[in-house]
Every structure is written in C-alpha cells, then in structure tokens.
Symmetry: C2
Amino acid sequence: MLKFELHKTEGHARRGTLTLNHGVVETPVFMPVGTYGTVKGVLPQSLREMGAQIILGNTFHLWMRPGLDVVQKFGGLHRFEQWQAPILTDSGGFQVWSLGGADGKGRKITEQGVHFASPVNGDKLFLTPEVSMQIQTVLNSDIVMQFDECTPYQTGGTLTTEDQARQSMELSLRWAARSRDEFQRLGNPNALFGIVQGGMYTGLREESLQQLVELDLPGYAVGGVSVGEPKDEMLAIMAHTPHRLPAHKPRYLMGVGTPEDLVDGVACGVDMFDCVMPTRNARNGHLFTRFGDLKIRNARHKDDERPIDVSCHCHACGSGFSRAYLHHLERCGEMLAPMLASIHNLHYYVNLMREVREALDEGRFEAFRQQFKADRARGV
Amino acid sequence: MLKFELHKTEGHARRGTLTLNHGVVETPVFMPVGTYGTVKGVLPQSLREMGAQIILGNTFHLWMRPGLDVVQKFGGLHRFEQWQAPILTDSGGFQVWSLGGADGKGRKITEQGVHFASPVNGDKLFLTPEVSMQIQTVLNSDIVMQFDECTPYQTGGTLTTEDQARQSMELSLRWAARSRDEFQRLGNPNALFGIVQGGMYTGLREESLQQLVELDLPGYAVGGVSVGEPKDEMLAIMAHTPHRLPAHKPRYLMGVGTPEDLVDGVACGVDMFDCVMPTRNARNGHLFTRFGDLKIRNARHKDDERPIDVSCHCHACGSGFSRAYLHHLERCGEMLAPMLASIHNLHYYVNLMREVREALDEGRFEAFRQQFKADRARGV
C-alpha cells in the first residue's frame, strides 16, 4: 500500500505526505540507514525522539545475517529490530556491485542474475530479481526496491562508455519488469519502486525513466549516483532526472549526500533521501551543524564549554554535553563519543528536512535555501 | 558533607541512607564504574532511568585525560560528564599498582609516593597522597578515597608474605593520615574514606582497621581484594573485615563482584559496591539475569524470540528486543549489542540492590538471599 499526496510545490520542490503500511511519512524526508537491522550506534528510541519517520534496511546484508529464517520467525524486520514505523529496503543490487571490487572479479552478472561468493562464509550465491523480491517480502519492508544493476562510473579503469551504460540500463529495465512480476506473484502488500539508471548519460536516463513509467510503479528512484563520479556530474544528474519523474508519485534519490546536496535535491524535485554520511562521519568525529562542519578531534575543542551547536535541540546538544567532553571521549576511544555524535548528526539531517518542510508549507523554500547556505558557510 | 542514617539491620546486613553533596544514596548500593568520565556505552540518561544513584570516576585516568585544567574549567566532574548525582572517585593507587605490570618495573614506590611513566605520553609522573587529594578536590567528587598502596596477592611470583603485607599496610596507614591532612588543608567540602589493607592476613586487617578508625573518617572501604587471589580468600576477607568497621559509618567493598558476591557482601555488612563486571562482560556478550548468566553469542539464541530475562524491566528487555536480535547484533559487531547489553547488565546489578533494600526494609533479607541463589542456579 502506498498513497502519496502532494500539498504544495515551489519551483520543482514539493511538499507531500506518503502513507505506507506501517505509517505516515511527511516529505521531503531523510531516511537513516540501518544496514544490518540497526542504525549504527543509535537506539530505536533515540531515532523516534529525533523525529525519524522511516529508516532503511539492506536486503543483501540481512539475507546474509541473520538470514531469512530468523526474520521470517519474527514476521518481518519491524518486530525483529523493534522499529514500528515504515522501513525501506534496497534490492541488494548495489551491495553485489560494491562487493565485486574494482575489477568486478568477485561476481558474475548474467541476464538471469548475479553469481557471487558470500562474504560471510564463501558460499556460492545467486541473486536474481525474483530472489530479491522474495527476500524483501519476508523482510516486509514498506517500500521494496527493484533489483537493478548499478552502472559503475568507471569500467575496467576507464569511464563507462555510453554503450556499456546502455547495456547496463537495459538489463536493469528487464530486471524491473521481472521484479514487478515476482512482487505481484508473491502478493506483497507493500510498494515497489523502480530505479532509473543510465550512468552519466542524460539521454539514457530519459529512456530508462520513460520505460519505467510504463510499468506504472507507485514510486521511482534515481540510482547509480554517489558511485565514484565527480561531484558536478552527480549534481548534473540530480538537476536532470528527478523533476522528469511522474509528479504524483514519490521520488527518491539514492545514497545522497551532504546537507547541501539534500537541500539542493529538494529544489530539484526529490522527496526522499538516504545516506550513511551522518552515522559514518559521526564515528569519525565529523559533526554536521547549521553553521558548518566540525572535527571534534581538533585540539581547539579541548576545553570548549559550548555544545556542538547552540541552535540544536538533539539529546547531545540539549543535555549539556560540551565540545570539550566529546573531544575527550573521542580521544579516549569511548563508545559514548560515536553514540552522541550519531544522535547529533542524524538529528541534524532529520530536522533539516523538517525545516525544509516548514519552509515549503509557508511558501518560502527559496529564501530558506539561501539562508541555509549562508549559515553553513559561516563556520561553527 | 556526608550523613549516614542506619534504618534497619538483619544479622550483619544493613539498610541505610547516605546523604552527600550532590544527592541521596539508598544503601546497600551498586555503583557503576565510569573510568574516563563515562560509564562505557551508556548514556547518563539511561543510568538515571535504570535507577543508578552514584557512579565512580577514576582519579588516575581523569588526571591523564582530559587533565585537570579541563575539569577545573567545568567546576568538577559532575558538569563535565553531565551526571548531577553523587560521584565517588578512587585515589589512583590501584591504577598505579596495576600499570606497574606483574613485575612492578613500571613504577617505583617510596615513602613519599609513587614514581611512574604516563601510559599516555611517557611523561615522568609522581603521585602522592597530597597530589591525589588535590586531583580529587578538582574533580569535586562526593566521596574521595585516601591514597593507598594496593597490597598485591603475589610479590615477585610468590605469595606476598605477612611481613611484606605489613609493610604495605603500614605505608597505606601513613598515607591515610597524609591524605586526611591534605584533604583538610584544601578545605575539600566532600567526604574522605579510609581504606583497610592487610592482604589476606586477618590480623593485619584488624590492625589496619583499628588505626584507620582512630582517624575518625566519615566512611571506610575494604581494599586489596579482587587483586588475583582465589575466590575463597576474597570471601574470607569479605566475611572477616566489613562487619568490624564502625556501625554508624558507610562501608564500601572495592571492586567486587558477581551478583552472588554482592548479596553475600550485604550479608557480611557491606553497604557499597563497585565493579566493572556488568559493563565489561556486556561488551563480551555475557549477560547477567535473575535465572543465571547467558552468553548471547551461543548459537542456541539464534532465533529465540524471548527477551534476555522476562522478569526484567530494563530498556533492552522491556522494549521487545529479543535474544535473537541481540545474538544477531553481536555476530555483526554492531554497537547496539554492547549498548543494550550494558543497559541490561547495569540495570540488573542496580535493581538487585533495590530488591535487597526492599527485603531489608521488610525484614526478610535472609529469605530473599536463599530465593536469589535458588533462582540464579535455576538457569536461564
């Protein structure tokens, strides 16, 4: 089940409400990533408190561990990981692609699917559109992603050619149709999204988009970005593709990005984002704030009594924890450092999107975007 | 400031209330250990929610990092680590002892104090009773421990002789007097505890105790246990020494122990306990429960839908997290595994003492102790 209501637009930017089987999601939205059924270092309770509406799970990783038999016993991922709100799962395609290594020797792609060795125990595995749908049906995620091949930016050390990108894109289209057929056959009650591919070639992106639209899926994603391309090429695809997707359906830009990317992505017509940056960077002591980014290991924070960001209401900033304390925890390798940093960064991303929604509601998104960029450039 | 009221006794067991500068502590009590100004893997908020009343800090470690200049800027440890309730700090003596290594070559003990190299940067350091009091005064801990020499169980590979233990105990007594003098000179507004030493020699323990009582300190600890001795020797000292301490002052058994040790310790007249076991074992997947202990890595938990302990009200057990989920998190090396396990284990220890207090209030401690042991032996 998926219902999408569009409330307001400003340029390409959109303010909507997405209703899914496990709840309602106000868009634009940032979705924290919970690869193995846990957003790294954060209690589900903390995610709820910061206002997270929907989180991701990774089909491939969860297939490996804990395995489908375990998740099936729990009736799906929601009860297993104690997250009662919506969940989106990817298809496994991106992981199979990234596990293959730069030379792609770790996997073999055929028309039928992808052969590869389990990174956990070396078992020979075969992932197909049908298997991906079967796994995601057991996971019972609210949004299921089609199985696709993520077109790499480089192939064999050189830029992927248009011909290579076309072959990959067309394979993903055939896998989209097979994904839809299997999704329907399984009677999956959730919502299947298609993924636009085509590499950095806008003509291919348009072909991919047109043919996916013909499948009449309830939502569409833009994939194959954040795969090693220069930033300006990612931004070019972000500017090109999302606003061409059907206006009455949700649009998801996969794996993007910095706070600036999110706000610009909204301006390009994107409704949904996910990225590991807030949690991964938190574990490296990189904190995002309204007034720019901050490396907590830097000696200048040693005795700084201020919170990470005075304007932030997250548990870390709102409870009196200082930069000096976080600096100390980080230096000592204490778990509380990534715990507090993850809460802060996720809160920043989740609430940046809340501010974006308020700006859209009030018809002042462009002014918000300018102020946001000025604030971020100010320095913390 | 320290006020200790004794409400009830049952045999040697005691039910009391300890009033300190930062709050009230109901005894018997378990005190979570927060070495570097953080109880490892647990938010202060979680500590409050589980009912922790007082936590420890380690003078030696905090002296090394973040250093006194930083803590001084925050007016003490409470604001620095955002823990507004009481804090007890050790004296640094145990860390200097354990850092010296088995052969003791890492430090040199003189009448004046201990010379050693900083484990952080190799700097030559000199810790004395006076310096320990100066550090603990900056930390502003509610309970300050005297600087002592922790008498080792073995010296140079053989059992510490009575003569060696006497020399060590007598040094600690002289350091107790110097600690008290410096504590008073500094005008420290908190409470100084003396530490009974004497190794495994009960005659020495009695001499140490008598002379410490003459200093008329507001509380006393039994130190030099859990230092590598066989369990029965620890239990012999626990049975011998605590109940001989002044009845109207709080008694603290340092560094002990298992849940059984705590309940037996109460029966021996102990009011206060600390131990790293609940947090350290949590990080190794060892969970304490009412019905015995549980290794969450064990394959038998793979698809077990039950919580760690059905009778437990901690955040991990009360929020629907299953053994299967914790097993999965542990296998994947996810931070949420030690986070939930630490919350559970600390909750178990803290609330075991709450149950002990209730049993004492109702005059049924011995019955409680028998039931506790039967439950623990039942198996989870």
